[in-house]
Each structure stands twice: as structure tokens, then as C-alpha cells.
């Protein structure tokens, strides 16, 4: 948004220091106003302005491990996962939130890593496809995808499985239509959807039996 007011020099703005809270939870706090009422939406009076940051220290949990890194504000989560952490199971198919190849879980919810800035997951927990089979045992979804041939070229597969995982965690007993709804944001150009439906229903059934 462009401003109509008289421009002022950003360098003259009062500077606020980075506050390191510690590992785990939110560690970058910019613009925190001490003494604010928790939960209040509005505050009277002038708040100090924050200094916009161009390099950001980010700490996040990826597949259960705490990871610290530095990123530009514009870096997407997908870019950081792939280019920095080399967790390349998360794919970039469109980079515009239209194909789902970059689907990961953030704090348990499926999201698109291409359309999430890395800094916005600071302090959060990310699960990628690489986090599903730690210890060498396949997740039931992965096992069913293998068994049912729910993949062809395989490029959409990690994102597809992450969406199915998110679905089964919120709905352990989906019907066919609910499976279709759950992966409505995942594009497979090879067209292996019928297999994905079958695999997801099979995995759901096995996971329920296993308890």
C-alpha cells in the first residue's frame, strides 16, 4: 500500500532489538511492546516501529529435529526445505499454490510450502515426506501407495501422501468422496488418482484396525 503522508526516513525510526526467546517456540520477536494486554486487539498511543529485517534467523522443527538457519524474508518454506536443507522430497510443481506438490504439514495441518514464507513457520513444527518413515518402517499410507501402485512418475507423490496423511488424521474413516475432497488440491498429471483413492482407503482401514 502506498502512503500519502510525508515520507520519513526509515533509518530515523527508532530501532527495536531482536529478542531471542529461546529454542522451540517463537524465537524471533520483532516489535513486541512490553506490557501489552494479552489478547487485546487495540492499543492506544504510539507504538515504537520495528526495523524491517532483510536477513532472518529462523529456528524451526523439521521432522522432529530443531533446525536453525538464516533466510531472506522472501524465501519460501519450499525453497528453504529444498535449497537449504536439501529435503527434496517436497517438490515445486507450479510455485503458485495450484498443484499441491509442495504439501507439508505445519503444526499438523497440511499447507503449501511454496506459498508460505519460511519466516512464517519460525518456531513451528514442519513435517515433510522424509519425516514419515523414520526408523525405516513405511507409514501405512506409504505402504499402501506402494502396494496399490498409487504413483507413476512419482513427482506428485510426496505431496499427495502428505495430503492423505492430513486427511486421515482429521478423519480416520473417510469414504471415497471424502478422500477425493482431501486431495482436491493435489494435481497428478500421470492421472493415477484411482490408485490413490484405493491406497488411501486401504491405509485408513489398516490404521483403524491397528488402532
Amino acid at each position: 500500500m502506498s502512503q500519502d503522508e510525508t515520507p520519513s526516513n526509515p533509518n530515523d525510526l527508532s530501532r527495536r532489538d531482536f529478542i531471542k526467546v529461546g529454542l522451540g517456540s517463537s524465537i524471533v520477536a520483532v516489535g513486541v511492546l512490553p506490557g501489552c494486554e494479552e489478547g487485546a486487539l487495540l492499543h492506544e498511543g504510539r507504538a515504537e516501529l520495528a526495523t524491517p529485517l532483510s536477513q532472518l534467523d529462523i529456528v524451526l522443527t523439521v521432522n522432529g529435529e530443531v533446525v536453525s538457519l538464516t533466510a531472506e524474508p522472501r524465501s519460501t518454506l519450499a525453497e528453504v526445505l529444498r535449497d537449504t536443507l536439501h529435503l527434496t522430497g517436497t517438490k515445486i510443481g507450479c510455485d503458485r499454490a495450484a498443484c499441491g506438490a509442495c504439501t507439508v504439514q505445519v503444526d499438523g495441518k497440511v499447507m503449501l510450502a511454496c506459498s508460505t514464507l519460511a519466516v512464517e513457520v519460525d518456531g513451528r513444527s514442519v513435517v515433510t515426506i522424509e519425516g514419515l518413515s523414520s526408523g525405516g518402517e513405511l507409514h501405512p499410507l506409504q505402504a499402501s501407495f506402494v502396494e496399490c501402485d498409487a504413483l507413476q512418475c512419482g513427482f506428485c507423490t510426496p505431496g499427495m501422501i502428505m495430503s492423505c496423511k492430513g486427511l486421515l488424521e482429521s478423519n480416520p474413516a473417510p469414504d471415497l468422496q471424502e478422500v477425493k475432497d482431501g486431495i482436491a488440491g493435489n494435481l497428478c498429471r500421470c492421472g493415477t488418482y484411482p490408485r490413490v483413492f484405493e491406497a488411501t482407503l486401504q491405509a485408513a482401514s489398516r490404521m483403524r484396525q491397528r488402532g
Binding site: 500500500m1 487485546a40 486487539l41 487495540l42 492499543h43 520495528a50 519460501t76 504439501t103
Partner: protein
């Protein structure tokens, strides 16, 4: 995407103050789904992006004692779709949220961001085209590939408003609570939107230093019912060919109040006075709903390639009215 400075606000007043800084372009980041699209296409190139992610209190959905429901601007579409109060009392909103976008986007996209997202017009979204929305002199879309453009209220720009939630909110007579330097103001959601004849470069009336912090849904009146319907070309991840949200109050067997809002067909969530007039004071019937839908389309002015939106809009209005009144077969 160009680089930008990043500020993580802690309070709403932080945000408002950041917006008030002159000499720089500042963008607000809520869910970021639309903002990232705009940044990647370099249609917006802010100096500073202010994140709302650590501003507390913006994500809740709460019912007040007087029966109103307040929805925080950062409530995600998924949380709206799953909210029991919305599902029972404001079904149109819950359904609009549930039928928007994809599961991944609904987990990230927020109420405020959805209302204020920029249109999807493919001429606007391409840097290579000059257009009214980008401050240019003409609309390349109207005489060009106009299949997704407006049939109602278009001109000089014909880009369609993209928000499904806005359609429901206008039908539900919702108000937005807007923070600005020194305080806040309230506006009916329907009054937030600007048609292109007034200013094609923007879709809403928020000042540059204002943000929406919440939306208030008034307590439904006795006998009121609401409904949302949508039709799209493709069932998985597609924008609406047309969508409609309606709220009717039926008292003594007659429709005493009607709000009929159509989306996907106009530069603003389109409230159809023509349909509402037909409905008011009449007893609900299938024939009446068809007449109302027909009245809504009397003012439609399709372009060369979007006439299909007229029957589509007719259909969603008729279906929403039938479903709202339990007349749907």
C-alpha cells in the same frame, strides 16, 4: 520476487503504525496465499512486509451474549468451515469457506485475506499487460479473452471479485471492525467494496493505514435462513462460474426480508435488488424462486464470451433460494 524487509507485529497497533510510515510501500501478510502470488508475479513490490502471525486474538470465532458472532480476521477458511456455530447459524459462510480453494489453502488462507484478495483476472495477473487495475488506460480483457469476466456491474474494468466469503458475509449482513491509527471503526461488509466505475485500481475502501481485525455476524432474526451455492467448471480447485449466498426471513408464511448476493460474476459481491424485490412479501415457492433468479439476471450484460455465466448465476440463485427454504428436490 524482489526482496523486502520483514516486520513481525505483536499488536494491531504495531501494524497500524507500520502502515502509517510514509515513504515506503508496506504490505500486510496474513495467510499470504494471495500476497505471495502477487509478490512472485512482482505485481506488488513492497519495501516492507508486516506479518500478522504473532498478533494475538485475531484467529478466534466467538459468540457474544447478544447472539452475535465475531470472527477474527486471521481465522482460517478451514476453521470457519469446521465451526459448529457457523455451520448451524451461518451456514452460508461455513459452506462458502468449505467450498473455497483446496484443503491446503483453507488451512492457511484467512478471512481477512480472502475478503481483500485481488481479482484473478488473467490480464491483471500478467505483468505484460497494462490494464486499468494496474493504473493503465484501458481494459484489455473486455475485448479480449473475457470468459471469466463480469456480466454484472462491469466497466470500465471487468475483473470479477474473487472472494467467496465476501458473498456470504454480505448476505449475512456482516460488519467489519477496522483498526486505524488512534482507534477503530465499523463498516458493513457490503460497504467495503468499490466498483470499477469509482476506482478500478482497487476493490475496497480501506484506507492505507487501516486493517480489518474482525467481522461481526449479527444474530440471525427469528425465521431467518441462509444458504450458499456454487457451480464451477472443474470440481477440484477451480474458481466459481457463479456462486450465490442468500438470507431470507420467513414470517407468517411470507418472506419478510431477503438478501440475495451473487459472486463470481461482478467486480463486487453483487447484491441483487431485483431478486430481493420479487421475493419480499411473497410466499416461498419454486415458481417464486425462479422468478427471483430471472429478475436477478435482467440486468446482466454479458461480454462476447461469458454469456454462460448468466444461466450459471440464475441457477445458483435459484438453488440457494430453494435450499434455504427447504424447497429443493
Amino acid at each position: 520476487m524482489r526482496n523486502f524487509g520483514y516486520v513481525r507485529a505483536s499488536t494491531v497497533s504495531d501494524v497500524v503504525n507500520e502502515l502509517a510510515v510514509g515513504g515506503r510501500d508496506t504490505s500486510i501478510l496474513s495467510g499470504g496465499v494471495d500476497l505471495l502470488d502477487l509478490l512472485k508475479e512482482e505485481l506488488v513490490n513492497p519495501d516492507v512486509v508486516v506479518s500478522l502471525s504473532q498478533v494475538p486474538g485475531l484467529e478466534s470465532v466467538s459468540v457474544a451474549t447478544d447472539g452475535k458472532t465475531t470472527v477474527g480476521a486471521r481465522a482460517t477458511l478451514a476453521s470457519l468451515a469446521a465451526n459448529l456455530d457457523l455451520q448451524t447459524r451461518y451456514r452460508a459462510l461455513a459452506d462458502a469457506a468449505a467450498k473455497a480453494a483446496t484443503p491446503q489453502i483453507r488451512n492457511r488462507a484467512t478471512l481477512g485475506g480472502n475478503i481483500l484478495q485481488r481479482p484473478r483476472c488473467w490480464y491483471f495477473r500478467k505483468q505484460e499487460f497494462d490494464c486499468l487495475k494496474k493504473g493503465g488506460n484501458s481494459c484489455p480483457g473486455a475485448a479480449g479473452e473475457n470468459r471469466y469476466l463480469a456480466i454484472l456491474g462491469g466497466g470500465p474494468c471487468y475483473a470479477v471479485h474473487a472472494s467467496s466469503l465476501a458473498v456470504a458475509l454480505v448476505a449475512l449482513d456482516a460488519s467489519a471492525v477496522i483498526s486505524r491509527p488512534g482507534g477503530s471503526r465499523t463498516s458493513l461488509v457490503k460497504d467495503l467494496f468499490i466498483g470499477p466505475s469509482e476506482d478500478p485500481t482497487r476493490e475496497h475502501r480501506l484506507a492505507d493505514n487501516e486493517i480489518i481485525v474482525s467481522v461481526i455476524l449479527p444474530a440471525p432474526k427469528v425465521g431467518s435462513t441462509n444458504c450458499y451455492t456454487k457451480v464451477r467448471h472443474k470440481e477440484a480447485w477451480d474458481w466459481a462460474m457463479a456462486e450465490a449466498a442468500v438470507q431470507l426471513v420467513v414470517s407468517g408464511g411470507l418472506i419478510t426480508d431477503a438478501r440475495v448476493v451473487i459472486g463470481g460474476v461482478a467486480p463486487v459481491p453483487w447484491r441483487s435488488a431485483e431478486a430481493e424485490v420479487v421475493l419480499k412479501g411473497k410466499a416461498p415457492s419454486a415458481t417464486l424462486m425462479a422468478q427471483a433468479a430471472e429478475a436477478a439476471m435482467v440486468v446482466a450484460r454479458p461480454l462476447s464470451d461469458n454469456a454462460y455465466k448468466v444461466p450459471a448465476a440464475y441457477h445458483v440463485v435459484e438453488q440457494a433460494l430453494l435450499q434455504a427454504t427447504g424447497l429443493a428436490s
